[in-house]
Amino acid sequence: MLLIRTLHKWFGLILGLQFLLWTVSGAMMALLDHHKVSGEHTVRAPAPLAAPTRLVPIGELATVIGAPIQGVTLRPLNDRYVYEVKTAAGTSMLDAASGEPVVVDAAAARGLAAAAYVGEGRITAIESVTKHGLETRGLVLPLWKVSFNDADNTTLYVAAATGDVVERRTDSWRLWDVFWMLHIMDYSSRASFNHPLIITVATGVAWLALSGVILLLRSFRRSDFAWALDGLERLRSR
């Protein structure tokens, strides 16, 4: 038992700070409302769009695109239907009625973000994103970053290839993300919790917790529970 006490103490000294950070970051993530963090309230589903009446024949797409086609999707994009065509070079879009190319430029991104946005803010900036940052990890580039001036500093990310609002970030998320970083110990990209550092520390802290529970068995005496036991006995002897 003395050995376990010594080990508990030394593991506590070396890894205790990370255990404290795990409890604090875990407690904060449990506290921050997940629905608010996800920003789901900042965007709405697109308005229903009546089925198309006129379509470019699908057979003509090959000549318009001029490259081997790997996938075609006919789908609504705000107020019209588009053909989204996938080739080895990437994804491009055509107006499904006219066959004209649909390019999501800054002005189009502004319109798409404004149509999706729910809130009090107005657009303050539109920037092109061609390099991954913390807010755009895991997303397909390039993107349009559309910033709003609401209380939560909402930012919507519009995919340049498809015009979809693919991500929303708010100050609630940005705060949550700091605790997430501390929790998964990935300080540069905040993306992975499967790295040697966290596995090593988690092994040590698992022992810290387990040895603590073992120590509990020897840390309590009858006198610790006198307040409850004496009361019970008094009840019983009545």
């Binding site: 089925a51 699908i58 996938g71």
Partner: protein
Amino acid sequence: MRWPALARNTHKWLGLVVGMQAVLWTFSGLYMTAVHLDIIHGDHLVRHAPSPPLDLADLVEPGAVMTAAPSQAVRLETQLGRPVYVVTGGPERALFDARTGDELSPLGQAAAEARAKALYAGAEAVKTVEHLSKAPPEIRGRPAPLWRVEFQGWWRPTLYISAQTGELVAKRHDLWRIFDFVWMFHIMDYQERENVNNTLLRVATWTAVASSASGAWLLIFSFRRRRRARKAAA
């Protein structure tokens, strides 16, 4: 009570309250970090073949497979070597042969099994094929009806195929199921396994903060006392 005794008592009692949960947190955390998320997701269970070039000649028009429902999307893809239209977005999801325009949905058992076999990357044979009219808990929230195709093997690899569209809806195996099980202990939501803001978790985590902080407090005395003891012995 003197400071060291107070620190020790605080740590002891907080440990009694939250110690077992700390063990569950650390061991569930250890599992989740040690087994890579890509393996948990079962990325290795399905083939990742590049999509073959599509021949757009001699296809029925995508407009022909749409109904009057608004905001439908029609995706052209290859399933089992044949071009198909997957219709989504409306209330009814459906699958059509893109050459003939014939509706292929809802998929029968043989078609679903053939789809699963074509997608599965392993060499094992199919063990069971089951039709489900409601998504089971391990794929909660996914559209139904669907086919559950389980393959032979230790980890019970399972592919879920949509009966409406032939799409791969989800892939599961026992490493994922263990992850989901320990995740339940990690977030202390024993019913739905998805609410990370439940009151029990909030109370337990702040108790754990107090417990680890009191441990740090106790550390100050633990090491000083030891030095003193040595001096006394000398």
